[in-house]
Amino acid sequence: MTAAAEYTLAELCIVAASKSFADEGEVLGTGIGVVPRLAASLAMKTTNPDLMMTDSEAWMLSEPNPIGSRAADFVPSTESWMGFSRIFDNVWSRKRHAMLGPTQIDKFGQSNTSALGGSYDKPKTMMLGARGFPGNSISHPNSFFIPGHNTRVFKEGECDFVSSVGYNPARLPKGHSLDDIDIRLVITNLCVMDFGGPDHQIQLVSLHPGVTAEEVQQNTGYPVHIPAEVPTTEAPTQEQLDIIMALDPHNQRAHQILDNPPGNRS
């Protein structure tokens, strides 16, 4: 398959993020937000047809639903009931891989969805709350999508509130090993990273076209391990772009990264 000549950064991120789900086999792929959902959907349509998916409400689907309003005669390919209480049965059985977008990610891979600044009793900015992050992070693999890579998200020091566990020896529960924690890919508007560096340090996996390793480091509040060879993030193929277009007919992906830049910025 040859790379498409033109594609947006969001589409590049969707394709890069879909790799998270490629080798997972028969697990529930949960992508919260437009880019993660399209990434999981693309994987289900291409690299991992065994992936399971919900309609983001209460049904499991054998084919991902396109995002946004659908024709009146559209029939979802429902295969089972999957209400929220059953989601937890799935989470705790570990047959899931979720991709989410927290507000902060620290050097340990711990993330924050709850509150920023101030004190815990009186935070400066209250956000969502811990949501399902504590349970997700200790139960199954997780990946992150961050549309705006900067030092506020990838902050120096620990997260203001730790919603999900990471590779932090000081917080490691008794009887657990750091290898029990399974953070996979971190996809941003600049690059793809993982926590596969020395001692679970965050490391560069690939740079998006036109982005340098220095830029990534400047926008990350802690040291990023940079291997000797860092490949460029693979461009989408036309086939992948066609599938993405069919899954997102209203082009919601155009509104996920500031100014919807092209994928190749070199």
Binding site: E57, G83, G129, R131, V162, R171, P173
Partner: protein, 291 residues
């Protein structure tokens, strides 16, 4: 046994300082007419346990809340609940912030009459460090430590269902009953508002009975209020009211804040409220959301 009652009779059974569970999820199928009746009452110092949305935000804004037990409070399409946010940022409420699944376990423990349920969920995170009341314990069977998620015992639960009979058989025909069955079981008293009161014969059809998620002994009172979930959704009957939620969120930025919202919409009764938001027909005409 006839359990039919009015919203004000429900509120008369609640007391200051009670722990009250509220069913639904975010902007979906919340017993909002019962919440509004609390707003009209003198109740205070409540501890609210909820997969929270505007139910939590409104009760906080009206000064009814001492403490919120939550995993999130969100209107979904407006991610941050404006009045919950104000309450947190002004430090005016106590909180017990836990994982969504921990809340489910806490409700189950309360339902089953056991003090806690062991789980891995929460280990290594600030839901443990910020909640000294949630203990981490050793296991008698392995060398690991486990979170002992305490029972979330509720004095009362408030739930909204599509249909119910006067004996307390409640049907949720929408695609998800969320954790409402556990809210019903975890509470000493469970009050259910419903869009439609039906005869018991309605449930003789097994396809209808299949959508009854707890037995009637768990239901204390049934309050027929068509449109009673507004502005939240009650699938398959009506969606959530996007325009109303936007006005609600905007009120939090205005000078008059929640008082303006109350003045404009709440009214002295549910009938007045519904006429202030365009009437029952308008509520029932709200399109279901697409996810």
């Amino acid at each position: 046994m006839n359990k039919q009652m009015t919203a004000s009779e429900v509120v008369a059974q609640l007391e200051d300082g009670m722990t009250v569970g509220i069913g639904g999820w975010g902007p979906r199928r919340k017993p909002m007419a019962l919440v509004r009746e609390i707003l009209r009452s003198g109740l205070k110092d409540l501890t609210i346990v909820s997969y929270g949305g505007a139910d939590v935000g409104m009760l906080c804004a009206a000064g009814k809340v001492k403490k919120v037990v939550f995993a999130f409070v969100s209107l979904d399409f407006i991610p941050l609940e404006p009045y919950f946010r104000q309450a947190r940022q002004s430090g005016s409420i106590e909180v017990m912030e836990i994982d969504e699944g921990m809340m489910l376990l806490g409700l189950r423990a309360a339902s089953w009459g056991i003090p806690f349920i062991p789980t891995e969920v929460g280990l290594g995170t600030d839901v443990i460090t910020q909640n000294p009341d949630i203990k981490v314990i050793d296991s008698p069977y392995d060398d690991k430590e486990w979170v002992a998620m305490p029972a979330l015992k509720l004095d009362a639960s408030l739930i909204h269902a599509d249909k119910a009979d006067v004996r307390g058989v409640c049907q949720i025909a929408g695609p998800d009953h969320y954790m409402d069955d556990w809210f019903a079981r975890a509470a000493a008293k469970t009050f259910v508002s419903c869009d439609e009161l039906v005869e018991s014969e309605y449930f003789h059809d097994p396809a209808q009975a299949r959508m009854v998620h707890w037995e009637r002994s768990m239901t204390t009172g049934v309050v027929p209020i068509a449109g009673g979930a507004h502005p939240t959704s009650c699938s398959p009957l009506y969606g959530f009211d996007v325009a109303h939620f936007k006005a609600y969120a905007a009120s939090a930025k205005g000078e008059g804040g929640f008082n303006d919202y109350i003045q404009q919409y709440l009214g002295a009764s549910e009938q007045e409220y519904q006429s202030n938001v365009g009437g029952l027909d308008a509520i029932c005409a709200i399109e279901l959301p697409t996810y």
